[in-house]
Every structure is written in C-alpha cells, then in structure tokens.
Amino acid sequence: MAPMILTLPWGVALIVMPVVGALACYLFRRAAKPLGLMTVTVTALSAAGLALRTTRADSYHHAVGGWGAPLGIELYADGLSVLMLVATAIVACAISFYAARFFDDKEQARFWPLWLLLLTAMNALFLSRDLFNMYVALELTGLAAVALTALTGSQDALSGAIRYLLATMLGSLAYLLGVVFIYHGYGTLDLAMLGQLVESNPVTWLALGLVSAGLALKTALFPLHFWLPPAHASATPPVSAALSALVVKTAFYVLLRFWLEIFPSEGAAPAQLFGLLGCAAVFWGGVQALRARRLKLLIAYSTVMQIGYLFIAFPLGILLAWHGALYLLLSHALAKAAMFLAAGNVLYYGGHDRIADLDHVAQRLPLTVAAFALAGVSIMGLPPSGGFVAKWLLIQASLDTGQWWWTVPILAGSLVAAAYVFKVVGFAFTQAEAPQEAKLVPVSMQWTALVLAVAAIALGLIAPWTLTWLDVGDPFSGAVSR
C-alpha cells in the first residue's frame, strides 16, 4: 500500500476529477446530484491521498507537459498547500451533502457544474506555483463564485453578485498588471525562481502594490470589503458557506505566497499597513456584526472581522505568527461554514433570518443551535477550539517580537465576537410559540452543520500534529529568516 500512495499522481487527480465531474453534471443534468456527490467524495479521497503522501515523503512536484519551470507549469504542494487542500476537501464535502438536500431539482442542475468548477479552480490554485497560472485559477474561482452567488436569480442575489463580479474582476486585473511587471522585470513566472532573482527597485514596489491591492480587494480586507456583506448575505446558505469559508481565502493564500517567496525583503512599511488595516477590519466587522438585524448579514460581517485577524500576522512576521494566521484560516473555514449552514437551517425552517424573531426557531432546532454555538466558540477563540490556538499563537508572536500592542485588537475582537454570538444563541433560552409555516429540516442538514462545528473545536486538540504537518517543505522559511 505504501508505495502506491507515494507514486499515484494525487495532485493531478485533485484537478482532473472535479473537472470531469463538472462536465458530466452539465451533460447529464438529471443525474447531477449523485454524480456531483460522487465527484466530491473522490476528490476528497485524493486530497487525503496527497496528505498521506506528503507526511511520508517530502513536498509534491508534477511538471505538467513534462517541460518544467520556467517554460512549463509545475504543480507543487508543500505543507501549506496540502493543508489548504484538505480544509477545502472537508468543507466542500460538508457543503455538498448539505446542498444535496437543500436545493430543489431545478437548482441542483444549475448548482453542481458551477460548484465543481469552483472546486477545480481552488484546488488548481493551491497546487500552483506559477504566477500566471494562479491568475487563471483566481479568475475561474471568481467567476464560478459570482455565478453561484446569483444562483437563486432573486433581485438581491443578482445585485450582490454583480457587485461581487466587478470587485473580483478589478482585483484580478490589478493582480495581472502586477504579474506583467514582474514577468517583464525578471523574465520568469515561477514563484521559487523569482524568490532568488527579485531585488528591491521601483518595478518590484509597483508589482507589490498592484498585487497586494488586487488581492486585498479579492480577500475583502477593510476598507475594500464593501462587496462582501451583500454578496455573502444574499447568496443561498450553502453557497455563502463556500464563499466565506473558502473563496475569500484563495486570494489570501496567493498574497501569503507572494509575501513568503517574493516580497520578504520589502518588509516593514507595507506589513505595518496590513496590520493596521487588519485591526480596522476587526473593529469595523465586529461593530457591523453587532448592528446587523439579519443572521446571514451578521455572519458575513463576522467574516470581514476574521479576515482582519489574518493580516495582523504580517507585521509580526515570525514563524509563530504565520502558524497562527494559518490556524485561524483553517478554524475559521470550518466554523464559518458551520455557521452559514446553521443559518441555512434556520431559513429553511422559518423562512426568514431576522435575528429579532429567532426565538420562534431556535428552540425547535437544538442541533442547529448547538452547531452555531460551537462554531461561535471557535470564532470567539475560547479553549479548546482551533480559534483559541490561533489567537494564542498570534498573541505569543506579538509578545515575542516585542510588539505587544497587537494583542489589544486580538483580545478586544474576541469580546466583540462573544457579544454577537450570544446575541444569537441567547434566543435558545427564551420561550416562544412555534412559527405558523414551519418546514421540517432534514436531520442530515442539521448534522452536517454540527459536524463542521465539532471539527472546528477538534482542530484545537490536534494542533501539535497539524502544525508539524504545515511545515513540510518549509513554506515559511523565506519570510522567517529575515
């Protein structure tokens, strides 16, 4: 068994499987649901295979077309990529099984091809090390995500989607312009090679500015987050879960790669700016989440806030900080997907997500409320959740580097998060009549949300193993030695 795990091209499977699935779902639209579920399962198995392979051997390489960089494109997976791929696989599985019950037949036929294309694009992005290939993957991610946002075709969804489309396209084009300058300046598109070549000059600064601005827009860093709340709040719950948990992280991943491989020498000033914007995002997102009257809007603003935390790692810049940011990213992916799916159950049951009227719903859906509360524990950063480990690492890093002031937003943010989580969970403890037109929520939909939330908690318990695994192939070596 062992040699087979080492030799099979798992990375290729992660890209080809969902493509084939997407094409099949489009061709045989009546069978889209079983085909889609099968594809997602097989893709998740491939992710597991790749993960097993990287724990036994070193990082994964595959030269597409047999050419190798710089002429061709290489697929590459180190600990960082593998962790992103595994998180994507887990969340994607949960969302798929949820969506299989949530959508009606007509929506199923539209959902699956786009959803599998989105999965392809994200997998391709996490496996890529080529700047232009990353652009194409980002483009496919953005386009599929926008189309999924518009899935219901309602007025809100359409206007949210078109804003999202314009923002994501602008972000991609800024990124592409930056890549053009890098290619013209250094004559290669391979990240690892660029890491050796790059020097500090106006071309590099310009590329840094363009790429960072474009990707910050795509990942919705304050104040470029304006498109996120309407898009994430107006999409259908399974899609919102995918957008918040996975899609915004793709742009962050690319930014992180750039930062680790190409720009580590450009350090100080932009890193401080990122940190400050991150703090602003934590507060702004938190306050807006507290003010929100709709459950899904609250969760969307919570995403704006959590994205802010990721950027606090940049001014810290040591291994602990990157570990913290990555851990936050992973636990947020699980917890936020759980929250949106829980909100989906509420919508399914009562037909609305007005927070003020949640008491009619909360007591009838104990599993859902449990899922929301557990996900909230991770979002707040209480032990033993993944969110706790992440914030602990970030605080430790800020003390180690003597920049204690970054601990203030990290801790204050937790309090704000606690406030908005309890604003929702509190309704479980008040008495109310059952709503008139309640629609029974399938048990599998309730359990899916709960499983994701429990996984977010469990992530805190397996932290030592996950963090060792993250270091396979030394993804952070470039930035840490600075």
Partner: protein, 320 residues
C-alpha cells in the same frame, strides 16, 4: 529595434492619442449606446496598436473578441436595460449623489492619478532588452510539434493554462444560464438587408475560421481567434432571426460545447496511464494532437460565444 520611419512615428502617435481619447470619452459618456460604440472603436484601434507592436495573434483576438463579440454582447445587454429608450446614464448615477461623495471622489481620483504616475515612473526601471522566455521557447520549439511559438506556448508548454481558460469560458456560460432568465424587452426584427448579409457572410466567416485554425500551427491564428470568428458568424445568424431547432438545443448542443474541454481532459489524462506527466504529448504525435485539440476547442469556443449571445438576447426564453 530598427529605427522608425517618420510615417510610422506619426501613425503611432495618432493611434496612442486616439486610444486615450476614445477611452476617456467612452468612460465619461452619458449615453450608454454611444459608450458601447466608442468601446468597439477602442477595440478596433487597439488591435491596430497590437499590429504595430508586432503581436498579430493578440491583434486578431482583440479585433474578434474585444471589439466584435464584446460589442455585440454589450449591445444585446443594452437592449434589456429598463431605460434603453433613453440609454441615459444619469438615472443610474443618481445613487452616487450623497453628501461627501464629491470629496471621496476627489480623493479617489487623486490617488488613482498618483498611482498612474508611479506606473509611468516604474516603466523606466524595466530592463530595456527584454527577451522573457523567448530563448527557452526557441530551444524547445522543435519538440513542440508546431512552428508558431505562440501556439506552442498556448497548446503545449502552457497547455494547462489554456485548459483552465476553456473552463473559464464554460463557467461564464453556466453563469449566464442563471442570470439570463428574464425575457428581453425589445424583440429582434428580421430585416432583408441583414438577411442577405448574413447568408453571404456566414459561409465566408466559417472559411475564415477554418483558415485561422489551420494557419495557427505556423503563423498568427489559432483556436481562440478561429473560435471567435466562428462565434461572430453565429451571432450574425442569430441577429438575422435564425434560431436553432429546439431538439438541437438540449443534448447535442451541450455535447458540442463540452467537446473542447473533454478533448483536453482526454489528451491530458492519457499520458498518465503510461507513466508520463499530465498533458505530456508523445513527441512524434504532438503536432497532430495539437491540431485535434484546436479543432475541438474552436468548435466549443464558437458555440459558447454564440450561446452567450443567444442567452443574453433570448426573446422567447430559449435555454441552451
């Protein structure tokens, strides 16, 4: 680079100024219809600029897609806007008039201006002699199966990117299927002049597409350009009021749209079975495989572009 003759110099300056002027007037136009026309003219002039930059492949793509098809799609979208009667942008802009908006706008514009200045500044620091990966391409082109370096890059060295690009196009089609539901407001009337034009031009466009496809292995041309021309032919037919039979709109349509991506998947995965890398062609059959891939991709691209147009302008709710 050889020295420019005076005539070329004048031409370049005129093209550059014309581009800037068209871009500005397109963006600042209050009339959407006029803005679309200016956008199309911008695309045509841009393709001339690409010719002058000795990039005929991009020039072809820009003319066919940037000016032609995008223009047709924009026009079709315009016909669906509720205020298409006046096509006036003022009504759309009213939302912008909030207190403090002017100050923000000023701030935004000055930021953008400073950024543009910095881009110009940085251009002077680019290496003057730029070859990129031209040398690497030149040494490997013998093994690529085609003689046109652009095609070699697109279909062989970086065929994986092209495959993902085809998926982007497919994603666009899936997306338009979702949003393009509402019936169009103005119905398309068939006119005799348009009918005659369509019946004359469509066969020619098909021939041009075939030529572009074939020449792509040696010179400027290739699947994307050929597909765009094919799509333009289809759009012309649709404009003239021709509609495919309903029976063709279901499975046959879908299979043909998927032909390109499916061919790519097949060619990509096959080498894996014999222990080679994804998309690694056997050296002696690389040329044949590339041509086959291009034929499949051309048909898919052409049909997808048509379908995008049909969906945007579908007047009786046809859904491919």
């Amino acid at each position: 680079m050889e020295t420019l003759t005076e005539l070329q110099w004048i031409f370049d300056v005129l093209t550059g100024c014309g581009l800037l002027w068209l871009a500005w007037s397109c963006l600042s136009s209050r009339n959407l219809h006029r803005a679309v026309v200016q956008f199309v003219s911008f695309g045509l002039l841009m393709s001339l600029a690409w010719v002058r930059l000795e990039a005929p492949d991009i020039a072809l793509a820009e003319a066919a897609i940037g000016a032609g098809l995008t223009g047709a799609l924009l026009m079709a979208s315009l016909a669906r806007l509720p205020l298409s009667g006046s096509a006036d942008i003022r009504a759309l802009k009213s939302a912008e008039r909030i207190a403090g908006a002017r100050l923000l706008q000023l701030l935004r514009n000055s930021l953008l201006f400073a950024f543009a200045l910095f881009i110009i500044y940085a251009i002077f620091f680019l290496p003057p002699e730029f070859s990129g990966l031209r040398e690497e391409v030149a040494t490997e082109i013998e093994n690529a199966g085609v003689r046109n370096p652009v095609t070699a890059v697109l279909l062989n060295f970086r065929g994986y990117d092209t495959f993902l690009e085809l998926l982007v196009l497919l994603g666009a089609l899936f997306g338009v299927r979702i949003v393009g539901m509402q019936p169009v407001r103005t119905s398309m009337t068939s006119e005799p002049v348009l009918n005659i034009l369509a019946s004359l031009l469509t066969p020619i466009l098909i021939l041009v597409a075939a030529y572009l496809l074939w020449i792509g292995t040696d010179g400027a041309g290739g699947a994307f350009q050929a597909g765009a021309v094919l799509g333009a032919g289809g759009v012309l037919l649709l404009l003239a009021g021709w509609r495919p039979a309903r029976a063709l709109m279901a499975s046959p349509f879908r299979s043909l749209v998927l032909l390109g991506p499916l061919a790519f998947v097949f060619v990509a995965v096959l080498p894996l079975l014999s222990g080679r890398a994804l998309l690694q062609y056997p050296p002696d059959s690389a040329g044949t495989l590339i041509v086959l891939l291009e034929i499949a991709a051309t048909l898919s691209i052409g049909l997808t572009l048509c379908a995008l147009f049909l969906n945007v302008s579908a007047d009786d709710g046809e859904q491919p």
